[in-house]
Amino acid sequence: MTADLIAQAFQLFLSVDNLLAVFIGVLIGTTIGAIPGMTTPMGVALVLPFTFTMQPVTGILLLLGVYKGGLYGGSITAILIKAPGTPAASCTVLDGFPMAQKGEARKALDMALYASCFADFVSNLSLILFTGLLATFALRFGPPEFFTLIVFSLTIIAGVSGDSLAKGILSASLGLVLATIGLDIVYGTNRFVFGEVELMAGLSFIPVLIGLFALPEILNQFTIKIEQRAATGQLGALGASFQDFKRCFKSILRGSLIGVVLGAIPGIGGSPSAFLSYSEAKRTSKNPDNFGKGEVEGVAAAEAGNNGVAGATMIPLLALGVPGDVITAVILGAFMIHGLRPGPVMFEQNLSLIYAIFMGIMLSSAYLFVIGKLSIRTISKIANIPNNMLYPAVLVLCIYGAYAINTNLFDVLVMFVVGILGFIMLRLDIPAAPFLIAFILGPLLEDNFRQALLMGQGDASIFFRNEICIAFWSLTALSVFFMIKNHIQTKRRKSAAGT
C-alpha cells in the first residue's frame, strides 16, 4: 500500500515541469529576497497568478521554491550592504555586515548559505517525520501561551544590547512605542494617529526596517571624507571552510531545531526564531564578546534559525489546514484554487500528492545550495562597487523598496524619519537591534496579552493556566537569571583586567 503510494507520488513528481518549477521558484525567491523592500510574501503573491494554469503539484512547488529562496536571499544584502531583504534576515546583519567590513563577506555569505541549506533540510525532514505530533502541540497554543512565548523571546534583547542592557531596553522601548501607532485592536479607537489617515494601519515593517538599518549607514557616509575606495568593501578571497562549518555546527543544529519548533507554531515566523537562535549561540559561545563584531557563528546561528522555519511552517498547513504565516496563507489559497483543502481529509484522499510535494521540498534544499553558490558569485559583486557609488545606489533602492510595499509615498517618509532616528542612535551608541525586535514582537505581545485578559475577564491567572505557560515563564526566569549572572561576571572580569 505504502509502496504504491510512493510510486504514485514519484509519478506525480517526476516531470520536467516540476523540476523546473522548483528551480525557477528558488531562483526568483533568492533574487527577490536580495532586493531590499521586496518581501518574500510579495514574491509569492506575484508568482501566484502564474500557477493558476499549472498542475497543482507544479504550482505549489513553484510557490514553495519562491518561499525558500526568499528566506535565504534576504541574507545577501543583509551581509553586503546592511539592508536585509526580509525582516527575518535583520538578525544576520548583526555579524554579517561587520564581517563584510572586515573583508570577509565571502566567508559570511558561504556560512549563511551552508547554515540555510542545512536548516532547510532539517526543517523539511521534520515536516515529513513530525507533522502530526508538532501540529497537535501547536494546536494547544492560545493567546496566553503566545504571550508567555513572546515574553521569553523578548529576553533575547539582552543578547543584542551590547555592553549596556539599560540602553538596549531603552532602544526596545522606542521600538515598542512605534509599534503602538494605529487603531486599537480591542476598541478600534485611535492611538497616536493625530488625524493622519496613513497612520491608522500602523507603520509598515519594511520602511521601518530599511530606515533603521540601511539609511543610518548611508547618512553616516556624509560625515566621512572618502579619499579612495574603502578596503572593507572587498568581497574577500576566502570562503567558509569545513572547519568553520564544524565549529558552528552546534549552533546551526540548535538554530535549525529552534526554527522547526517555532515554525510549527502558527504566527511566529522567521524573525523570532533567528533572534532566539542567535541569542542562544551567543549565550553558549566561548567567545560571546565577538558577537556583533563579525563572528561567523553569529551569521550561522541567525540563518539556521531563519531557514529552520521554512519546512515547519508547512506542518500546521498540511496537517490541519491552518496557515502559519502570510506566505503559507497565500499557498493555502493556491491549494484551494486547485480544488484542494489541506488538512486531515487531504491526508486520506490525496496522500500521493502530499508525498510528491515532500519530494519537491527536499529537492528545493539542493537547488538552494546550487543557486546560493551561483548568487554569491554574481549578486555579491555589488560588494566590489566603491562606497561613494554604492551608497547613493542603495539610497535609490531603499526609496523604491519603501514605496513599493504599499505604493505610498508616506512609507518613504516613514523610512526617512526612522532613518534619521537610527542615525542619531548610531552616533549615540544606542543599539538598533533591540528596537527592531521590539517593533516586530511588540504588536504580537500586546495583542495576545489583551486577548488573554479578555478571555480571562481580567483575571491575570490565565497566564499560568497550563504547563506550556508555566514552562515559558520558567524559561524566561532562567534566561533572566543567566543574563544577570553573565552581566556580573563580565563586569568582574573587566574590572579585574583593569586593575
Binding site: M38, M42, V93, L94, F97, Q101, K102, D163, S164, A166, I169, L170, S173, V177, T180, D184, V186, Y187, T189, N190, R191, F192, I218, L219, N220, F222, T223, I224, K225, Q228, A231, T232, G292, Y391, P392, A393, L395, V396, L397, I399, Y400, Y403, A404, T407, L409, V412, L413, F416, F423, L426, L428, D429, I430, P431, A433, L453, L454, Q457, G458, K491
Partner: protein, 181 residues
C-alpha cells in the same frame, strides 16, 4: 563628547521623552472610550507601561552617566561612538572625519535633501526625484567623474522603474513626466 556626557544626554533625553509621552502625548494621542471596565484592556494601558519602561531606563542611564562624571571615568565599558554601534563600520585608512561643524553641516544638508525629495516627489515623480537625489549624493560623497555620477543617477532609477512597473506590476509615479509613460 565623553561617554559620561553622552550617557547623561541619552538618559536625560529618554526621561524627558517618557514624561512628555505620559503627560502630554498619551492624553492627546490615545482615545480612551468611556466603556473601559478593566484598566489593563484600556487603549492607553500599554503605551503607559512602555513610557514607564523608557523613564526607568532613562533614569538608570542618567545615573550611570552622572556617577561616571563624578568619578571621572567612562560610564560604560565600550569605545566612543565616533565609529558606531554594535554593527559599526570598521573604517579603513582611506576615510577621515570632517570637523564637527563640517559634519553637522553635511548631515543637516543630507536630512534637508531627503525631506526635499519627499515634498517634491508628487510633482517630479519618484524617478526624476531619485535621479536628482542620487546625483547630489554621489557628488557630495566624492565621485569626481560627472559621467559616473550621471550614469548611476539616470540608469538605476530608470532600470528600477521598468522592473517595478513591467515585472512586479507596481505603479511608480512620474509626476509632471506622467505623459512619458
Amino acid at each position: 563628547m565623553t561617554n559620561a556626557q553622552r550617557d547623561i544626554l541619552i538618559g536625560g533625553g529618554a526621561l524627558a521623552l517618557a514624561l512628555l509621552g505620559w503627560f502630554v502625548v498619551i492624553p492627546i494621542g490615545v482615545d480612551v472610550p468611556g466603556s473601559v471596565k478593566i484598566m489593563a484592556l484600556s487603549p492607553d494601558f500599554w503605551p503607559r507601561i512602555i513610557m514607564g519602561m523608557l523613564a526607568a531606563c532613562g533614569v538608570i542611564v542618567l545615573v550611570q552617566g552622572l556617577a561616571a562624571r563624578g568619578r571621572g571615568t567612562p560610564a560604560a565599558d565600550h569605545p566612543p561612538p565616533e565609529t558606531s554601534d554594535d554593527t559599526a563600520p570598521v573604517e579603513s585608512d582611506a576615510t577621515v572625519h570632517f570637523s564637527t561643524a563640517g559634519q553637522v553641516l553635511r548631515i543637516v544638508t543630507a536630512f534637508a535633501c531627503l525631506f526635499a525629495f519627499y515634498l517634491l516627489s508628487p510633482v517630479l515623480g519618484v524617478v526624476a526625484g531619485c535621479m536628482i537625489l542620487a546625483l547630489a549624493a554621489t557628488r557630495v560623497l566624492g565621485v569626481r567623474s560627472w559621467a559616473k555620477s550621471a550614469g548611476l543617477a539616470v540608469i538605476l532609477p530608470v532600470l528600477l522603474y521598468f522592473f517595478f512597473t513591467q515585472v512586479a506590476h507596481i505603479p511608480i509615479p512620474l509626476g509632471v513626466f506622467e505623459a512619458l509613460r
